[in-house]
Amino acid sequence: MSHAPLPQHVDPHDLLATDALLSDEETMLRDTVRTFVGKRILPDVGAWFDTGTFPRELATEFGSLGVLGMHLDGYGCAGTSATAYGLACLELEAGDSGARSFVSVQGSLAMFPIHAFGSEEHKQQWLPGMAAGELIGCFGLTEPDSGSDPSSMRTTATRDASGDWLLHGSKMWITNGSIADVAVVWARTDPDGPDRGAVRGFVVPTDTPGFSAPEIHRKVSLRASVTSELVLDDVRLPADAVLPGVTGMRGPLSCLNEARFGITFGAVGAARACYESALAYAGERTQFDRPIAGFQLTQRKLVDMMVAVQRGTLVALHLGRMKDAGTLATPQISFGKMDNVRMALEVARTARSVLGANGITTEYPVIRHLNNLESVFTYEGTNEIHTLILGQAITGLSAFS
């Protein structure tokens, strides 16, 4: 052991120096997204949230940046590591969960199934345009009566004599639905058909007759993101619209695993933004003739937030390295999604209290993140569902039903 004097300097924004865990290339990718978010998202996102809009032109800007489907290979995708994808999610969500949701849905939920399970024609037709952000995708799994238990879905896919598919049913809470050019829709096949009632995935151009996607309004969370219903009123599709590479719930669940991995990082970004906002505010705001950062109770909050963000970062990076090594198991993804989103919500609430009354306005980012995180807590497997996945992993007993 060396007896050299220990370095005294620590970075309040990265106390454990986790940046040192990134390669030069990862740092460059991360910095690129961070700069983009600083220039293109942070200045306006408060207003987007207030007015409930997602500016569509962001899609092509994300495309030029290269974040859409960035961890996929070929077809115009950048082909980065999974860790780099996670870092991009982290920086985007430090801007707004809506921006990260757009990128998650496009890359992990719409492009991923086409890339993993689509035919060569599907890939050629859709992926390059989606990587460029010229074509927007959405992912239809959840239904009005089928959320945490997606295998109870009622949307049906039947084949007529000509071999065409007919999709019928409705999907609910679908991110990007109303602005999508293509929907990846999961539907149950005929119990007497060749797939024996298994769930199959379909690539549905949204201009197909019978398809409509009314937007869901009156949200107070993820307002800078489009959420929609998908109405499938006997949507007729050619035989080759089905994703040939997968049959059964493994299809949608493998997409969710991709997106949940990204959320593990994304949540850290939202938490970091809240912590940094609270740290800056506490240093500037004076009461009783001193900065509120000097009060012990405030310091406790700031330190708890800092520790939580750093821990979340370490968990995310660890999972990233495992995913890149091909060793990441589903319960480990649940660990990341469950704990990091829960952590981020706690940090956001604490930060909100540090900002006092200012904490309830969209002049500051904190309540926007707090409200957004309520959606992130629920989508991509609710916190409870991930708890049950972990419960089953450690006890061997299923508590789902």
Partner: protein, 260 residues
């Protein structure tokens, strides 16, 4: 059209390190990044090559250690290849030596149509290297460019002045220094970042350039830094409480400075 851009890799201004009390120069041992001043030259070069419809951008850099990350950033923006002169013997080089080394390195890249630099670097900012390179290569030199347009063998340069700008025409090849902030440097795209790691980076020593170690570094320096002192602390500004007449006080203040 082939453009060479001289890019300096400097200590991160966010974490600038310290001056070595012994040599009175900046300690440059750790990570170096692309000097932001040079990102404008890289952007301008990429735009010129685009406009010409062919050719490539080559980077030339000199650093005492074999740091590459600043170059990788510029390669990720779209430059095609880089020459890095890296040699322990370079430690202590002065601006003229730097120019000699860079001029020799530019010679290795073939016959560029144009050499771009920044007007001054962010860490050394002597603002002398570009003109020295031009002299050493016997090329014409234009400074403080705010825009460059190339037509055949001539470049039309808008050269910034205190009053506005001069229109200058210069035959190519030439060395032009680019003012900071005149173009918006692009973000390196992810594909660019991924491609950067496999782009050719020619790392050479002083000997490879046909130079003698005694000509460079401390032994070659014709300049000596005899003393450094702290910059004077800025005086505290005046705070004007706005009692409804605040604008009046601002106008008076500006008038006093003879700005208005």
């Amino acid at each position: 059209m082939n453009v060479v851009v001289c890019v300096k890799q400097i200590p991160d201004p966010a974490d600038p390190g310290a001056l070595d009390p012994e040599t009175k120069t900046l300690v440059r041992s750790g990570k170096l990044i692309l000097d932001e001043s040079d990102s404008y030259g890289v952007e301008m070069a990429l735009q010129l090559v685009d406009a010409a419809g062919g050719g490539e951008v080559t980077l030339v850099s000199m650093a005492p250690n074999d740091e590459q990350s600043g170059l990788r950033t510029a390669l990720a923006m779209g430059a095609a290849k880089a020459v890095l002169v890296s040699d322990e013997a370079l430690r202590g080089s002065d601006a003229l030596t730097t120019a000699k080394v860079l001029a020799a390195a530019i010679g290795r890249t073939g016959q560029p149509d144009l050499v771009l630099t920044a007007t001054e670097s962010s860490d050394g900012y002597t603002g002398t290297v570009p003109e020295q390179i031009a002299e050493l290569l016997s090329l014409p030199s234009v400074t403080f460019a705010k825009s460059i347009a190339v037509d055949g063998g001539t470049a039309s340069v808008q050269r910034q002045t205190e009053a506005g700008y001069d229109d200058v025409q210069v035959p190519l090849p030439a060395v032009v220094s680019v003012t900071a902030g005149v173009v918006e440097p692009r973000y390196p795209s992810f594909k660019g970042i991924m491609a950067a790691k496999s782009k050719p980076l020619d790392q050479v020593t002083v000997a490879d350039l046909g130079m003698d170690a005694g000509q460079v570094g401390w032994s070659g320096a014709g300049q000596e830094i005899v003393d450094v002192s702290e910059a004077e602390a800025r005086e505290a500004g005046t705070i004007v409480e706005d009692d409804g007449e605040g604008h009046q006080k601002v106008v008076e203040f500006l008038a006093e400075l003879k700005v208005i």
